[in-house]
């Protein structure tokens, strides 16, 4: 056993008759941040959907802490320590901030603890606790989503496109928190299309192109390869 917290082995998956992942191998070691980069349509989000249990793979295995979890319902994975912040804002727009945080308690943390962590880290959320989440700004919404990842103290955190549609300053602030979550012992898999910010935080980076992981390595090495991957060289 390699001791990886999350591992994908030879995962093939797709939508209907169209296969998107043609055998993905990926390892997320304990307490580390892995950045999964790649151009549009490479299969990054699909990889994440497979990892969190929303999309069953057609073949291959997904291991969480060494156990095969293919076929396990996403809600069970979530209750057992795999937290996912999906693409777009990972919030319920018609619930208030506080009600959104209450939804995090399915993972076994009580509401008081969730609120303590969330408001402690993001005081702005405390000011808006009774406001409907859909009326928050984009950055605040992403904070709320991230607060869940912070508060439930998961074993594995899957993050999809945290930076989407946000100002660079906000993105930097959010990735500061990602780094902090990583230091607390959580293993994190981050999917990003725009790589610069996340490479500063990541321990390992992987480039995905056309449904396979093309290369894995040190962030600095990978950064050099990026432009060729994106431009299809």
């Amino acid at each position: 056993m390699s001791g990886a917290l999350l591992e994908l082995r030879g995962v093939r998956a797709g939508y209907g008759s169209i296969e998107v992942l043609h055998g993905v191998d990926l390892v997320v070691p304990p307490s580390s941040v892995v950045a999964l980069l790649g151009p549009n349509g490479a299969g990054k989000t699909t990889t994440l959907s497979v990892a969190c249990g929303l999309l069953p793979p057609t073949s291959g295995t997904v291991l969480v802490a060494g156990r095969n979890v293919v076929g396990v319902a996403p809600e069970l994975l979530a209750q057992r320590g795999v937290a996912t912040i999906p693409e777009g804002r990972g919030i319920f727009p018609n619930l208030t901030v506080r009600e959104n945080l209450q939804m995090a308690t399915f993972a076994g943390v009580d509401l008081r603890r969730v609120e303590e962590v969330a408001y402690g880290r993001f005081p702005r959320l405390a000011e808006r606790r009774s406001q409907v989440a859909g009326t928050l700004s984009g950055g605040e919404q992403q904070m709320l989503a991230l607060a869940r990842g912070l508060a439930v103290d998961p074993a594995v955190l899957l993050l999809d496109e945290l930076s989407m549609g946000l100002a660079p300053l906000v993105v930097e602030e959010l990735y500061g928190i990602v780094a902090q979550i990583a230091r607390s012992g959580t293993s994190i898999l981050v999917v990003e299309q725009f790589a610069r910010t996340v490479l500063g935080v990541a321990d390992v980076a992987a480039i995905m192109v056309n449904g396979v992981v093309r290369s894995v390595g040190e962030p600095a090495t990978i950064e050099a390869e990026l432009s060729s991957a994106y431009l299809g060289g």
Binding site: L54, Q79, F92, N94, E99, F106
Partner: protein, 803 residues
């Protein structure tokens, strides 16, 4: 003053019942995104179950209430969610509406089978005979009970939805089902709970209502329209809004009953029915006052299987074939059967009216029979001599009324249009069709059309007239669909937002298509040439029309015809099966006629699995016939030969029916395979064409020769055996041939754009791409050879593509 107080208290207690019912409706809508048209039917089932348990079986009141309201109804709601509603999550508005409407019709049919209407079933009031004095007015305890229960429901729901995790996750599941899963919640269980809760609330209102009024399945089911009117005040989402609406409606109905003299008339219309029409009036008023709905740029839904729009030539040929087929079959029928087939053809015209509205534009109407009624009444009034001018006038009236009905609702979303049309149907029944001055003694005779020398005065002529009309309007619709306006309708169905950004006026387009649809339905009434009862224009009569049209496959003319056939087939089947019953261990015998009464509902519910309806599926089997000239010739020749044999009396009519069934079901779909020449891609074992052809001919001849009428006494058994024979012949035919049609169908080459996305590109793909670019295979080989020499003979791998 006493009178005022009495009616106020009566109004408030019915307001309490409406409020409870509406809160159940709002709960299921906000927590599952599905507007439950069957909500009233849930309450109705609960009320009857309560009667069964409490009165028929003698269980005391309190255990009976607990059993029905807290156990049976919630379980029923949860099962409905699990079995039916989960399948339509994410489907279009039309499918959601049709499935819940079908559930309502099926439950209504089921209730009438279990609890036949010919018996009166009084439900004793709670606390019978106990009263309190309020400001000098005697108020029964049961009325107070309704108020108390409404208060408890309001408080309980508020607590549930804002204070408990369960309640909040019920709201969360509507926002984002997958996100709730990723949080660790269980959306499936949450949805079942919310349907259980909704059904429980429906049961409370149903039981309370049943203790006040007489128990009637139809009345209780249609009570749901009052509930819509009430819920619309809160935009279907707000509980306080629904409570406010309930108070307004309850009081208004009570005061109208108390203060308006039922003999008062406005023109020809008596106001006795005004209380029944109030929910509809209220619904329209509220819709008019609503601000226009904001268009939401939600992502594009599930792509539908594309409906192939036929060319105008195909449509003309189809129309001619339809007229000939109906004229041919009609000539063979006994008078009693001819009437039924003619009625079926009339229904087909009504389902056809939904093709532009529902099929092209994605809007829905639950009041098509009301337009048929308006057309029929107008024609009876103005066109006693059958003049075509009167027909035109009747159709025009329907178009105008259709536009007026649609206007307030069209500014809002699809569900509001369904509500508005349902309310319109109820309004018409109360204020128009049930008026002695307008339809005396409950039936209206539509004069037959008279066009120059032609008068549709026999059933056969009427059938031919309807077939010609169907063909003409069908062709008109195909032409419209292919025009710029037709593209506009389809675009609007796909994405209203995108249309609005392109500068398309959504409202005028929708009003136009609704008026067209109402006009076609009106023509169906004005040209029906038969007697209608006022009942056949009611809401319960309109619902199956919409349901079966969608089941038939509303995107196409053929689908509308199938829907009409289904509608027409139900009365025919219940005549054929009149004497038959299906027994269960000799204990229970359910008459087939009763089962048929809720089949339309079941067919509609099945739509959740196949949202595009039957027509596209059937078309797949027969499309190959259209492409193969020999198959087409043999099909037509076979049908004509059978018809001639029947016409001349060589073959009995039952023999003709059986042979036609076998021929159409078994032989025609296999003919293209049997008659096509051998092809290179045939497998090592070529299909046994000759043997299969002989088998099909033999099966058809045997079907002709069996003395059906002499040997088998029961009509029902005869029909069942025929269907079995046809299915068996088809099965054996495929067996003899040795291949299935699917295996022989040429594989559809994947678009070159997709190669490499779903699988690595192979050499064959490269060859295919070269060919499509207009180059030959030799060019490809030359290119590969050149590439190989330039890479010093290194092998060209399977994924390398010459650039």
């Amino acid at each position: 003053m006493d009178k005022f107080l009495t009616f106020t208290i009566a109004g408030l207690s019915s307001a309490a019942i409406y409020a409870i019912a509406a809160s159940g409706l709002v709960v299921t809508y906000t927590t599952s995104g599905i507007f439950n048209f069957a909500h009233g039917a849930f309450g109705m089932m609960a009320a009857f179950t309560y009667w069964q348990v409490n009165v028929a079986w003698g269980v005391p009141t309190i255990p009976a209430v607990i059993l029905v309201v807290f156990i049976i109804a919630p379980l029923f709601g949860a099962v409905v969610e699990r079995v039916i509603m989960r399948g339509i999550e994410g489907a279009s508005d039309v499918v959601k509406i049709v499935v819940t409407v079908s559930l309502m019709v099926a439950l209504l049919g089921l209730a009438q089978v279990i609890w036949p209407q010919n018996e009166s079933r009084p439900v004793p009031a709670f606390f019978e005979g106990r009263f309190v004095e309020v400001l000098g007015v005697r108020v029964s305890w049961s009325r107070l009970l309704a108020l108390v229960v409404a208060g408890l429901v309001a408080g309980g729901l508020r607590l549930l939805f804002t204070r408990t995790r369960l309640g909040i996750s019920m709201r969360a599941v509507v926002d984002d089902r997958r996100l709730l899963q990723l949080n660790g919640g269980r959306p499936g269980r949450t949805a079942m709970l919310s349907w259980g809760l909704g059904a429980g609330l429906a049961a409370v209102s149903g039981v309370l209502y049943a203790t006040e009024q007489t128990l009637s399945a139809v009345t209780l089911t249609l009570l749901v329209v009052n509930t819509y009117a009430v819920a619309v005040v809160g935009r279907l989402r707000s509980l306080p809004g629904a409570f406010l609406g309930a108070v307004i409606l309850g009081l208004a109905q009570s005061y109208v009953t108390g203060y308006i003299n039922p003999d008062l008339t406005v023109g020809p219309i008596a106001l006795g029915n005004l209380a029944a029409a109030l929910p509809a009036i209220m619904l329209f008023t509220v819709l008019l006052l609503q601000p226009e709905a904001r268009l939401r740029s939600h992502s594009v839904g599930r792509p539908r299987a594309p409906v192939v729009v036929p060319s105008q030539t195909t449509a003309v040929l189809g129309g001619v074939a339809l007229v000939l087929a109906l004229a041919g079959i009609g000539a063979l029928l006994a008078p009693a059967d001819l009437i039924l087939v003619t009625k079926g053809a009339g229904f087909a015209l009504v389902t056809l009216s939904l093709v532009p509205l529902t099929g092209y534009a994605g809007q829905i109407s639950l009041a098509q029979m009301s337009f048929v009624g308006i057309g029929a009444v107008a024609m009876a009034t103005w066109g006693a001599n059958g003049s075509p001018v009167a027909v035109a006038a009747s159709v025009a009236v329907c178009a105008v009324i259709g536009a007026v009905v649609a206007l307030p609702a069209l500014r809002l979303s699809g569900i509001y249009l369904a509500l508005a049309t349902a309310a319109f149907a109820l309004f018409c029944t109360a204020m128009f069709f049930n008026q002695q001055e307008i339809i005396p003694s409950g039936s209206v005779q539509v004069p037959p059309l008279s066009l120059g020398p032609f008068t549709a005065d026999t059933d056969y002529r009427q059938l031919v007239l309807l077939a010609v009309l169907f063909a003409l309007i069908g062709n008109l619709l195909v032409w419209l669909r292919r025009s710029a306006w037709g593209r506009r309708l389809t675009a609007m169905k796909d994405s209203p937002v995108a249309c609005a950004t392109l500068g398309l006026n959504l409202t005028s387009t929708k009003v136009g298509v609704f008026a067209l649809s109402a006009a076609i339905a009106g023509a169906g009434g004005a040209l029906a040439g038969r007697t209608f009862t006022a009942d056949s224009f009611s809401l319960p009569a309109s619902l199956p029309v919409t349901m079966l049209a969608v089941v038939g496959g509303i995107g196409s003319i053929a689908g509308a015809f199938i829907g009409g056939l289904l509608l027409g087939a139900i009365p025919i089947a219940s005549t054929v099966f009149a004497a038959n019953a299906i027994g269960v261990f000799r204990f229970v015998a359910i008459p087939v006629r009763d089962i048929l009464s809720f089949t339309p509902g079941l067919m509609g519910i099945s739509l959740g699995r196949e949202p595009d309806g039957a027509a596209p599926q059937i078309a797949v089997g027969y499309r190959a016939v259209g492409r193969s000239v020999p198959a087409l010739v043999v099909s037509v020749a076979g049908a004509v030969a059978l018809w001639l044999a029947a016409r001349t009396g060589v073959v009995t009519k039952w023999g003709f029916a059986a042979a036609l069934l076998v021929f159409v079901v078994a032989a025609v779909p296999l003919l293209p395979l049997v008659l096509s020449p051998a092809r290179p891609e045939d497998t090592a074992e070529p299909p046994r064409r000759l043997a299969c052809g002989l088998w099909l001919a033999l099966a058809t001849l045997v079907a002709v020769a069996i003395p059906w009428a002499d040997r088998i006494a029961s009509n029902g058994l005869r029909v069942v055996l025929m269907v079995v024979a046809a299915a068996l012949s088809a099965r054996v035919g495929i067996g003899v041939l040795g291949v299935t049609p699917e295996q022989l169908r040429r594989p559809v080459p994947l678009s070159p754009d997709l190669v490499g996305v779903d699988r690595p590109m192979l050499r064959a793909d490269a060859v295919e791409a070269t060919r499509r670019m207009g180059l030959s295979e030799d060019d490809f080989e030359a290119e590969v050879a050149a590439l190989a020499s330039s890479t010093n003979g290194a092998p060209v791998g399977p994924v390398t593509v010459p650039r």
